[in-house]
Subunit: 146 residues, 4 copies
C-alpha cells in the first residue's frame, strides 16, 4: 500500500512510456491529464458508471479540470495514481487525483476534475443518479472492495 | 500545389505540434501514423465513406500499415500529407501516403495501409461496396473535385 | 480576425484530427491541453523565449494549469486557440487560453497556466528574465507584430 | 510466462488506457506503434543502448516500421508486448514485436522495425557498434538475465 495515497479508494499503477516524454526530457505536461483520466476511468469501473450509461443513457461530462505539477517525471518509472470523490452535489461531483512516482517515492502532481451528470439521450444536464451517489459514498467509506 | 505530391488526389496540410517531438528532439515515429491517418480520413470524407458506414453499417478496418522514414521532422514546420489509392481488390484496397515537410521542401516519409471492407452489423469481412470503388476510381481519375 | 479572440495577441489555427476523438465521439478532454500548449509555444516563439533558453539556460516550467470545457469539439473542424499573458510577477506569469471552434463560431474551452522562471543550468527557480517581461508587455500592448 | 511470447527475450506488460480508444470503440491503430516502442525501449535498456548513446554519441534511428493488425483491443485489458532481434547486419538490425491481449489470450498484432546505427555527433550513419551486436546476441541466446 502506497502511503502517499492513503485515503484514495481507487489507485491505478502503470509504467511511464518513454515516448510520453517531450524535448525537455521529462513527461509532457499534457500526459498528466491522461494519467488522471486513467484513474477516473478505474473509479467509474468500481461504481458501475459504465453500466448505468449503457442502460439508462446517463453518464457524466467533464466540466473543468486542473493540475498542479510538483516534480518532473521521467522514464523509467512506474506511477501510482489515486482518485477520490471529495464533494457530491445535486448534479455534479468533484474528483481529486494524486500522481505518485514510485521511483522517487514522491507526489509528482495533484489535480481535480468536476464531473456533471449528463443525459445523453436528452442531450442535456440532469440530476446525479442516486445509484452513482450511493456507490461513490460506499466506495469512499471503504464499503466497496475490489 | 506541392510538386512533391503530384498524383495524390487528397492532400491535408497542418502544423507540427511542438509536443509531438520526443526526447530526441524530433517528431516521434509514432506520430507519423497519426499524420497518415489524417490523410486517410480526409480521403474518406471525399468518397462518402462515412455516410456509407452510417447508412449501411459497412466500413473498413486497417489490415496492416507501414512507414519508411526519410528525414526527421521538427517544430516549427507545416507538413502536407498526400493519400492515394493504388490497388483495389474484391474486398480491400491499398492506400499510399507521402509526408512532405514544407519547411524543407522534402519528402519526410512514405507509407501505405491495406484497408479491408468490414460489415459492422454482421461483424465480419465483406465485399468492397461498389459505391466506394466507383468513388475511389473517380477521385483518382481526377473526376471528383473538392 | 476571429472576434471571439479579440485581445489575444497570439492565435494559432489548425484542424482537429479525427483520431483525437475518443469513444464518446468528441475530442478527448486531454487533447485540449495539447491545443493550449500549441498556443503557448507560438507565444514563446514571439517573445524570444527559445533563444533565451538556449543562450542563457533560463526558461520556464509549468507550475499549474486548468481548463473549463464549454462545448464538445468534433471532427471535422478547425480551431483557433488564443494565448495572452494576464499577470506578470517577479518569478512567474499567468497565461490565459481560449479555444474557438471555427465551425460552430463558439468558444469551446478556456484555460490558463502559471509558468515559473527556471534556471536549467542551476536546476532551480530564478527571477523572470527582464527581456521576457519586456517582450511580453510589448506583445500584449500590440507593439510586436508578426 | 506468456506462451504466445515464447522466443521473445524482452516482454513488457501494461494496461490499455481507455483514452487510447477512438470513436470506433477500440484502441486506435496509431497507438499500437507506441506499444511496440515501449518494448523496443525496454530492449534497449537491456543491451546498454542508452549508456552507449550517452558515452559515445552512437545510437539508432528508425528506418522503417510496420504493423499487421489481427484483432481489435479494447479497454479494460492488459497487454504483453514482446521484442526480439531477428537479423543483424553491418549497420542495422531488425526487431520484431508481438502484442498479446491478456484478456483474450490472443495475438492482437505483429510488427517489425529496422533500426540503423547513427552517429549523433557526426550526424550520419555508422557501423553497428560491436558492443550492441554482442549484447543483442547474448540477450537472444538467453545469456542476459534481468
Amino acid at each position: 500500500m502506497n502511503e502517499k495515497l492513503q485515503g484514495f479508494p481507487v489507485i491505478v499503477e502503470f509504467p511511464i512510456a518513454w515516448g510520453e516524454m517531450d524535448p525537455q526530457q521529462h513527461v509532457n505536461n499534457v500526459v498528466y491529464f491522461r494519467y488522471m483520466e486513467n484513474a477516473r476511468i478505474a473509479y467509474y469501473d468500481r461504481i458501475g458508471a459504465w453500466q448505468l450509461a449503457e442502460e439508462e443513457g446517463i453518464g457524466t461530462v467533464l466540466h473543468s479540470t486542473d493540475c498542479r505539477y510538483r516534480i518532473p517525471l521521467t522514464y523509467p518509472d512506474t506511477i501510482s495514481v489515486g482518485a477520490r470523490v471529495t464533494a457530491i452535489e445535486a448534479d455534479r461531483f468533484t474528483m481529486e487525483y494524486r500522481i505518485v512516482s514510485n521511483k522517487l517515492g514522491k507526489v509528482a502532481a495533484e489535480g481535480k476534475g468536476v464531473l456533471v451528470a449528463f443525459d445523453f439521450r436528452k442531450n442535456g444536464k440532469t440530476a446525479l443518479p442516486e445509484v452513482l451517489r450511493r456507490n461513490m459514498e460506499a466506495l469512499e467509506a471503504g464499503m466497496i472492495r475490489e
